[in-house]
């Protein structure tokens, strides 16, 4: 797509989304009825490790930073699409090898100083550093340069259609260069950025208190600057039962990550709502294709046929989610056409016999203390044993099991993967291409046809073609029995009914700038 078309297209999308948002939230009447003010208290299971956008990869940090800092391109209301952020427009060169971004006029940092192209170039260079947490998303970037006082250009080594998604990462946020370079540690406690909120206090292990950034550039539906709230308290409440009790008690207005066993009962409580929002997460069993007997595709397929996913969905997930037909989460090009592998013990037995299984035991690894994953492992062990495999469950603490996975000292590992980018390329390449530093995300899976298709998809800007290519990749990798996929797990939250406009977006956080309290 040419850049002018792309701009037109994104403008149309924004208008459509805005129209939808207004319609779905009750139309103009509610837009006029929006109430400003109040304090929103959110209890969540994570605590930020830092508020420096260039360091973290943990959700506790990321979701808080997303309220305070903004990049040039932003995720949209659902998180699946993109919309202009600190750049009000951008243009790709005809060969797809460079992108020029125009900085929005008059944007100021939360300390009142204007945002300059130098700040943006500095920030992008920080995130694109290969040693930074999200440096991998900028691998194809050759250089980042200032063009003039309102434009900057990113030049690529090869065409890379995921670039805009990478620029929309929380980690690509534009920071005040002067404040960051003066004292990065202080910046990590109280960042100077351009988001709707700024940090009033950050007590590690306890809470982050956010107050409106008076210089925020975006207006609300009532025509006045966002955000609507006077204050947001992001409380760290690691114990899931304590979060639920606190919500019932009225101590919290919203809670994140409701224990699945209690989701149904919260739905029954008057004055409260349960939110089940799609996300980019897949729970699955990692398989190490370099280890016997998993190196044999027939054994891997048998493990898939003998996996009683219905039982897992019912007893572990309480019906929340969707049985997976892919090796990766449902990012934007997920295809429902890929035929799921059914639960079929006879088929599994036949495959194991055909493979001439020699009785090599399979050690199924689980993180110590992760009760749901232990339950999953037990159900899998049961099915696999019935099919004729020897299975042993082993438990290690997360650090150790991760180390073993990464060094290839494992056979099967019950875990999960999430995507922070709203484009399929990141995870598809990470999991499907063995040339990367993780060797196909620790699977040692090798398929040159997939590598070839991935390269094509990365360089195609035509959406239909990309969908077709990712559909093919999904079909091949899934039926190569890359892993044992289990559940596309959604986000499950709950909130008091007075909380309006709360939505969990696909990349994990919530746009608190648009939340208001009906009180």
């Amino acid at each position: 797509m040419r850049s002018s078309e792309k701009l037109l297209c994104s403008a149309t999308t924004i208008v459509a989304i805005l129209a939808l948002a207004v319609l779905s939230s009750g139309g103009i009447a509610e837009a006029a009825g929006i109430k400003r003010g109040g304090t929103l208290t959110v209890a969540r299971p994570d605590d930020p490790l830092t508020l420096d956008p260039f360091i973290p990869s943990d959700n506790g940090s990321i979701y808080a930073i997303a309220q305070v800092c903004e990049p040039l391109v932003l995720g949209d209301d659902t998180g699946k699409g993109l919309e202009p952020g600190l750049a009000d427009s951008w243009e790709a060169s005809a060969d797809g090898l460079s992108y020029t971004f125009k900085l929005r006029d008059g944007v100021k940092f939360s300390n009142g100083k204007p945002v300059t192209v130098d700040d943006a170039v500095f920030s992008l260079k920080k995130v694109a550093d290969p040693a930074a947490s999200y440096g991998f998303a900028f691998d194809p970037v050759k250089s980042i340069d200032k063009v003039d006082d309102s434009h900057l250009r990113i030049t690529l080594k090869t065409p890379y259609v995921t670039l805009l998604s990478a620029v929309s990462l929380f980690s690509s946020s534009v920071v005040s260069m002067a404040d960051y370079t003066k004292d990065p540690a202080a910046f990590g406690k109280s960042p100077v950025c351009t988001g709707p909120f700024k940090v009033e206090s950050y007590e590690r292990g306890s809470q982050v208190v956010l107050v409106p950034n008076q210089y925020y550039w975006r207006n609300g539906e009532d025509g006045k600057p966002l955000p609507y709230l006077d204050k947001v308290i992001l409380k760290y409440v690691p114990e899931s039962n304590s979060r639920v009790l606190g919500l019932r008690n009225g101590d919290f207005d919203a809670i994140v990550a409701v224990p699945l066993s209690q989701a149904a009962s919260i739905k029954q409580v008057d004055g409260m709502s349960l939110e089940v929002a799609p996300g980019y997460r897949l729970d699955y069993v990692y398989l190490n294709h370099a280890k016997k007997p998993i190196d044999d595709k027939r054994i891997r397929l048998a493990m898939n046929y003998a996996a009683n996913r219905d039982a897992i969905m019912k007893s572990v997930y309480f019906g929340v989610g969707q049985i997976a037909n892919s090796f990766m989460p449902q990012v934007n090009y997920w295809s429902d056409k890929v035929e799921p592998i059914p639960y079929d013990l006879d088929k599994a037995k036949a495959l194991i016999k055909e493979a001439g299984y020699d009785g090599t035991p399979i050690k199924l690894m689980v993180d110590t203390g992760n009760a749901p994953f232990k339950q999953i492992a037990t159900i899998l062990q049961d099915g696999w044993t019935q099919a004729g495999l020897k299975v042993e469950i082993v438990e290690f603490d997360t650090g150790t099991s991760f180390d073993m996975t990464q060094k290839g000292n494992y056979q099967a590992y019950v875990s999960y993967i999430t995507s922070d980018i709203n484009d399929d390329d990141e995870l598809a390449t990470l999991e499907g291409d063995y040339h990367g530093s993780t060797e196909a995300f620790f699977s040692r899976y090798k398929n040159d046809q997939v590598v070839d298709l991935l390269a094509q998809a990365r360089q195609t800007s035509d959406k239909a073609k990309r969908a077709d290519l990712y559909g093919k990749i999904q079909d091949i990798v899934y039926h190569d029995a890359y892993s044992v996929p289990l559940n596309f797990l959604p986000y499950v939250n709950a909130y008091q009914n007075k909380v309006k406009n709360w939505h969990n977006i696909t990349v994990g956080w919530w746009w608190l700038r648009q939340v208001w309290l009906d009180q």
């Binding site: 290969p130 009790l245 603490d397 990470l430």
Partner: protein, 313 residues
């Protein structure tokens, strides 16, 4: 002067203990698989980048040199920088220090306030129904997991009665007292039965002593004998039990910290171990060792107050 010498002697004895703890922790955590950079990056980083980061942090030097460096800096109060949080370890620990101390103090005070009268009643009415009731109730409290007790207390005092906050640490002294009551009670319901048991046993021993007979012969009332002569002499074993348990609770109260969302050192340790954040683990171990030593010293000093003969021993 004897008391001062006694304290100094105890402090001198503590030095090798501290050194031993640091040596053990420093080398033991290196043996555990997993490294912080790869965990933080979810493995999405090349070996060269990891090496470059370690070089920058000085973590690729020989272990002995790193250890000496750690000791040298620790002596000046600098415990290094957290790899995961990019903040000074001293700051991170100080933020969690007071919530932990408040939790321990409230747990200990409520335990003692519960244990003293209950143990006295138990000893005074030994083998009668009050004694049996206290012992059975104690056993039930001790047998219930702190996690569950905590949730029950939240449900009862927080949700139904609404008397106490159920999460957090509070802003000022009054707030801390208010917030720390339920967590303290959770600890006390586990700790008090142990104290009651040990106090009751030693009170019964003392009650059988000759000098109690003498006191009785002088015509003192049973309650007066119990409070003035028995309790004082029976306290030493209970103080020891309390000190040992507080030492354990410094890092072991993590479940209580989780249930009540308290920003304490126990949860910091658990998380740092998960991330293999070596500088924080080392720093915390040092602080825990110091706290255990100080608590034991305080226990020794309180023996002195209770019984001056300790100084002569």
């Amino acid at each position: 002067m004897t008391s001062l010498r006694y304290v100094l002697e105890r402090l001198l004895h503590a030095l090798p203990v501290l050194l031993g703890v640091t040596i053990f922790v420093f080398f033991a955590i290196q043996l555990v698989p997993g490294d912080p950079i790869r965990i933080m990056m979810h493995g999405r980083i090349s070996d060269q980048e990891v090496q470059a980061i370690y070089e920058r942090l000085g973590m690729n030097r020989p272990l002995l040199i790193q250890y000496v460096d750690f000791l040298r800096k620790a002596a000046t109060g600098d415990l290094g920088t957290s790899i995961i949080q990019n903040a000074p370890v001293t700051t991170l620990i100080l933020e969690k220090f007071w919530p932990s101390i408040w939790l321990l103090a409230s747990g200990a005070v409520i335990s003692v306030l519960l244990a003293l009268p209950l143990a006295s009643i138990s000893a005074f009415y030994r083998n009668r129904w009050a004694d049996h009731l206290i012992r059975v109730a104690g056993m039930v409290g001790f047998a219930m997991p702190p996690f569950w007790i905590g949730l029950l207390l939240i449900l009862g005092f927080g949700l139904w009665l609404g008397w106490f906050p159920i999460a957090g640490y509070g802003q000022d002294t009054a707030g801390h007292l208010h917030h720390m009551f339920l967590p303290g009670l959770t600890i006390a319901l586990f700790l008090a039965p142990i104290l009651v048991q040990s106090l009751r046993t030693s009170m019964l021993d003392v009650l059988a002593a000759d000098y109690i007979e003498v006191a009785r012969a002088k015509g003192l009332s049973e309650w007066r004998i119990l409070l003035k002569h028995v309790l004082r002499n029976a306290a030493i074993p209970a103080i020891t039990v309390l000190a040992v348990n507080i030492g354990w609770l410094v890092s072991g109260a993590v479940i209580v910290e989780y249930v009540f969302s308290l920003p304490g050192m126990g949860s910091l340790l658990v998380r740092s171990v998960g991330f293999r954040d070596y500088p924080v683990i080392q720093g915390l171990s040092l602080v825990f060792a110091v706290i255990v030593i100080v608590v034991n010293l305080l226990a020794d000093l309180s023996y002195m107050l209770v019984d001056r003969r300790v100084l002569k021993a």
